[in-house]
Symmetry: C2
Subunit: 453 residues, 2 copies
């Protein structure tokens, strides 16, 4: 009896069908990154806990998967800490490595560690899994891929525009209709200043971030809970409820924060970025959205968020400018900007809208039927020629019922079945069945490659 075996909670196997589709997404994204001259890097799954701890807040520290030190660690567990149930202290003593939680902190570590070998501006991308000990739920996994692209070591707003071009190209290639929302942390900062609550900047951005999810009333409750004055809340309201187009929004924000220094700088930045967008035609719709805040506090300039137009699923890509990412490791003044593509959500959107090309479901292009020793020998030679032309094909590995072999072809969505029986061998021909139409054609063996192409 087979045992009940399973993957750990919150993790997944990807079988051939899913992998074909996932690879289609990753390869499309990679192609675009390469077109823009970005290079791939990879970092280890494990990082020293000293690298990871304290970078994601106290909650994040708890969500790190920690790896037990090898060997006998018992002398590292003190009776006192055990009595006090101080598991955090014990953890620190018996574990010094953790699984990466995102790609951002490892990237910052990479840049600091290799700073003398890197020629800036450094254009890198990284596609690897990350792990979080979150409570698993629908659409939230303990292992999932992130797909990050960043330019680091250049303050030019050209880079913001380049990321916008990349977003445009990726979603055009994938066939997903999207809207790109832009905002700027300096504008948000200017707003906090203009409403007289500069010191409540973080609380304000956190609240703004939730407007789509919880609505105006609850956001205002939260602002009150954070001790914002009623005056400030009233002043903030036109921004929270703004639904104007980009030009009108520029005017609104100009009128509110145009006289604050940071706010003015933010408006200028966004003018440059929207200038690029005007000058160079894009396929996607881009909006200035003042309610966009992005949760992460390391952003300092432009922020990005992409939403699918035809599926309700939250953002499928997002990012922004950070002026001090490597600062967490003591390396100052290295500004960067980047976005991250959410592969799992993109997968869901494409599945829902049936956007995967038919070929992603095909395991191979042709199946060569195996009738026995002689026929197999002929098939091996035909297969050789197909593969020389990079056409994928499968010789069925043993003589077996035709029925079974055709079932195999069907279940693997193989579009062509090639039949080389006794009479075909005698005539130097092959019969090719088109599995979609059912049509059968008998042709000379040296024409098979052309036929299938």
């Amino acid at each position: 009896m087979a045992q009940q075996v399973s993957t750990p909670k919150g993790t997944r196997d990807f079988g051939p069908a899913e992998m074909n589709r996932r690879n289609y997404i990753f390869n499309t994204i990679k192609e675009v990154f390469h077109n823009y001259g970005f290079s791939q890097i990879e970092t280890p799954a494990m990082e020293n806990l000293s690298t990871l701890l304290g970078k994601y807040g106290a909650e994040g520290d708890k969500l790190l998967f920690k790896i037990l030190n090898s060997g006998n660690f018992t002398d590292k567990i003190s009776k006192e800490s055990l009595d006090a149930q101080n598991y955090i202290e014990i953890t620190n003593n018996i574990s010094e490595k953790g699984l990466r939680y995102d790609l951002t902190v490892p990237f910052a570590r990479f840049v600091v560690q290799h700073r003398n070998d890197i020629v800036f501006p450094f254009k890198r991308y990284q596609i690897q899994p990350v792990w979080r000990a979150d409570k698993p739920q629908k659409g939230r996994y303990r292992e999932f891929y992130q797909c990050d692209v960043d330019i680091i070591g250049s303050k030019s707003l050209f880079n913001e525009f380049e990321l916008i071009q990349i977003i445009d190209d990726v979603f055009a290639k994938l066939g997903i209709s999207v809207t790109l929302k832009l905002n700027n942390r300096k504008i948000l900062s200017g707003i906090a200043e203009a409403i007289g609550e500069a010191d409540k900047f973080v609380a304000i951005t956190v609240a703004i971030d939730k407007i789509d999810k919880i609505g105006l009333e609850k956001v205002e409750d939260e602002l009150r809970a954070n001790e914002l004055s009623e005056d400030a809340i009233v002043k903030l309201r036109p921004i929270l409820t703004n639904k104007s187009n980009t030009d009108e929004t520029f005017k609104l924000i100009e009128s509110i924060i145009g006289n604050t220094e940071t706010g003015k700088a933010g408006i200028e930045e966004m003018n440059v970025i929207f200038g690029y967008i005007r000058d160079h035609k894009l396929g996607i719709n881009v909006e200035l959205d003042l309610s966009l805040a992005r949760g992460l506090n390391y952003y300092t300039g432009a922020i990005f968020e992409v939403k699918a137009n035809d599926v309700e699923i939250g953002s499928i890509c997002g990012g922004g400018r950070y002026d001090n990412l490597t600062g967490i490791f003591g390396l100052k003044d290295v500004s960067g900007v980047g976005v991250s593509f959410g592969a799992d959500r993109i997968y869901d959107v494409m599945t829902q809208l049936e956007l995967f090309p038919k070929q992603t479901d095909e395991y191979s292009t042709a199946l060569l039927v195996n009738f026995g020793e002689n026929e197999e020998r002929a098939c091996i030679e035909i297969a050789k020629k197909l593969r020389k032309e990079e056409i994928s094909c499968i010789v069925f590995p043993e003589k077996s019922k035709l029925d079974k072999q055709f079932k195999f072809a069907n279940s693997h969505n193989i579009p062509f079945v090639i039949i080389v029986g006794e009479s075909e061998i005698a005539n130097g021909t092959a019969t090719i069945k088109n599995m979609a139409t059912g049509e059968q054609t008998t042709i000379p063996q040296d024409k098979i490659t052309d036929f299938i192409k």
Copy 2:
């Protein structure tokens, strides 16, 4: 001051140059796998320890990286086990997941878990990192990639031949001259029987496995230590020292084990496999090598090992037939055969023999020089056209000294620099510098794509 940061002991970052080369290897291997109709799967980095423990021997259990359970685990640590320094018991109580140690056991778990969805024969490949808490040393890492390809659910020896074809194609594409050594566990079993030591089969294969490393004398010492009779050792000697060609080796082994049942079956299998090799021309040299044993005891039939002809580095690919892999999870009678490509060693061989194509060192095909706002605008449009043709190019992200921009092109091995200055804009031209030859050509802007192609 930047902090001293580093990856954990035994793990590595892969920067752009290494990733380009690694991707060249992985993509070449994947291409071949696809040509033969293999499908990719991925399994999670973490497996339940119940899946992993006991599958790699007591030593393997120690080398598993174990993940600490989340939350407060202190009540799972008993004072008694702490007093007894029983860290294995404590580990079992505070850790229930581990990092995968190889791809074979997770694959067996995958097949058992998804057996009702899989249409056999199942042709799968898997390229993912594995982790072992080994003592790190030159060439041995705690995180490294494995690259496995298997056909499972078919006993036909055609599959053995297909793997040989794959090995042939992969190393031909990579340009590495190799020798493939073949043997068969049933032949080894027959030998143990013929020399009257059938019950010492494991000790004999382990000893044979070391003949290349430690020589005849030490192997015989080890056999004596395992209580093989002197008579048996003498009978084994012609096999251990055999250096004949494949035909002679077939005769030798026929004379020694032709009358044992298992031995005879092994010889028959190898006759079929070498029959395939004779019938269908291969590029690589294939030898029957009786001293090949492969350490892993789950092999039951043919075994494979590939060595580079021009670099001393041990095997760069190996595998074999296993009749009972999923048996570890209670699912019987699922026979499979597979090989694993050693990406790290292949990388070292290719580096040493300088086999990587020049393009793998190029970060991008063209750099467009940035002279300021107007010129940048023209460059963005030119870059768009190049990228539409999937030509990678970089617009330097800010106006800066020509010197710095050329240095960037050089350090990134970019073969073409495209210069669009004031006069070029006026004339609708661009000047292209070939960085290898130093040659400069001025051409109309709409001819750039063709020129670079």
